[in-house]
């Protein structure tokens, strides 16, 4: 069910998403390492979460009642760091030192070193089961925070995701939302070639999950889905967000080679030119 959202909010969130794309690419270009494709595909989802949906307070990263966010696809760390800096968890200038030995920003998210990172990630597959534990803990402690887990589609090839999905259906904590950034591209090629996941939504349904399918670049659909997901408690909910790997940079879109390599100077300039405009 599509809800009406304030135009100004949508415009702002789109601008934030564009900012996150630019900042992620800048970080990856500067460091000459990172994962541009999966940052660009998930930027709209992360913008919606960090600039509208999550109940968080950057001044109190350890606030016990904050909503939790687990970036299960931890290789999109540049995107998460960009959002955290933009929200004020640390200075945006810290992003310039990403990957340096003394920097608090690790290659993949590290909950002990970086304010705002709720859980360490990087090895794929853990988010659902860890999110389940967090949700069960919230329920036992009668806290009303919500836990969001963002996964990649390639990540769902691993069995631990489905162990977690199965356990979520049994325990149904009612305060957990999974989001899959379904961009159909992974390191070695297209997901549908490397190890097909279709019928993907049916897999989740057969694991007794509620499925909400959306266009992961349509901000109104993203917000609507996130609202609906929180309202559903009879089953765990997964939002399957169809996205474009490398979204927003024409020469990166749907190209596996942009999974994990940085742009050179010329490519970086061209990408930033395409991402100029709102939020830049």
């Amino acid at each position: 069910m599509m809800k009406n959202f304030d135009n100004e909010l949508i415009t702002d969130l789109k601008a934030q998403a564009n900012y996150l794309r630019r900042q992620s690419l800048t970080m990856i270009y500067r460091r000459q390492a990172g994962h541009p494709g999966g940052c660009l595909s998930a930027a709209d989802i992360v913008a919606a979460l960090y600039f509208k949906v999550l109940r968080i307070d950057p001044k109190r990263p350890d606030w016990e009642d904050r909503d939790r966010f687990i970036l299960s696809k931890g290789h999109a760390s540049a995107l998460l760091y960009s959002a955290l800096a933009r929200r004020g968890y640390f200075a945006e200038s810290d992003l310039e030192h990403w990957g340096e030995l003394s920097c608090q920003l690790q290659g993949h998210p590290d909950r002990l070193k970086t304010p705002g990172v709720d859980m360490t990630s990087g090895i794929l597959g853990h988010g659902i089961a860890i999110g389940l534990g967090l949700s069960l803990g919230a329920r036992l402690q009668k806290r009303d925070y919500h836990t969001y887990v963002l996964l990649g589609d390639g990540e769902c090839q691993g069995g631990i995701v489905w162990e977690g999905a199965n356990a979520c259906a049994k325990f149904n904590p009612g305060n957990l939302t999974a989001i899959v950034d379904y961009n159909d591209v992974q390191l070695d090629g297209a997901v549908h070639d490397i190890m097909p996941m279709e019928p993907f939504a049916d897999k989740w349904r057969s694991f007794r999950w509620e499925v909400i399918s959306i266009d992961g670049h349509d901000m109104i659909q993203i917000l609507s889905a996130l609202e609906e997901a929180v309202s559903i408690t009879r089953r765990p909910v997964v939002i399957i967000a169809r996205t474009v790997k490398g979204k927003g940079v024409s020469f990166m879109e749907n190209k596996a080679q942009w999974h994990g390599i940085p742009p050179d100077k010329e490519q970086y300039s061209a990408a930033m030119a395409e991402l100029s405009g709102e939020g830049s």
Partner: protein, 313 residues
Amino acid sequence: MANLAMREAYGRALAEYGAVHPKVVALDVDTASSTLSSFFEKRFPDRFFNFGIAEPCMIDAAVGLALAGMVPFANAFAALASLRALEQVRTCVCYASTNVKIASSYAGVSDFKDGPTHHAISDIAIMRSLPEMTVIVPADGNEAATFVPLIAEFDGPVYFRLNRAATLPVSSSGEALSIGKGIVRRQGKDLTIVACGSMTGRSMQAGDALASKEVQARVIEMHTIKPLDVELILQAADDTGAIVTAEEHTVIGGLGSAVAEALAVRPVPLYRVGIKDTFARTGPDPESIMDAYSMGVSDIVNAAISLIVRKKS
């Protein structure tokens, strides 16, 4: 207290501790009636989570519960906790430094009936190699129970290695234990036996056998393999000049290796008693498997005598 099976002593202690500590939760993987986390389950069904046969999922969920401020005891067979769920343990428990307690039951060859697939003879080596991990191996049921509150109140990941059945008792009821502090269980000056788990009781028997041969063996129980009580080992090396280690585990990477590392700065003759670099077999009880796979009392005695000879030469 009677000499309970280690798992039963642990299970009862966990339930008892849980009664006054509402943050303690227990998780299991369809082995609650084996690990005896079932004692906790019966009393606190709301704080007990059975994940079915899915150890990686259980460990990750325990991580989440720890992140939420609970104190999770994740129960499984040692072979699976240390192998199938190892990546979860390494990344999400150790690297992320989450307050997860892994209660690893049926360790060593204590699952004698099920054979080498279910034996855990490499788990100490594996867990000891992980940064942030504390590794504790109680010697008897009494210690298994005593350690429960200590582990629950310890801040950080713990691997708690438990046997299925009763072992030879070595501790007395009400005896204080301290994580990281070894215990001198028998005084002696001629050599030292450093033992953990079920081999502690066997080492005490070896001490008696050696005494009848005019050899006075010191016996140290090293229940905490990591962090190792290096001071106590170096003191023993200085005082007695020779060390035998004894463990229900492969001689590669476990207690013996940890002691060898400690002695590298002050070498003395050392013999590591444990299962050689091989898989054991199914047997009628743990004791006969241990006897058949170089973990018998006579293996300790013979090792000790060989070191006494080396010392004199």
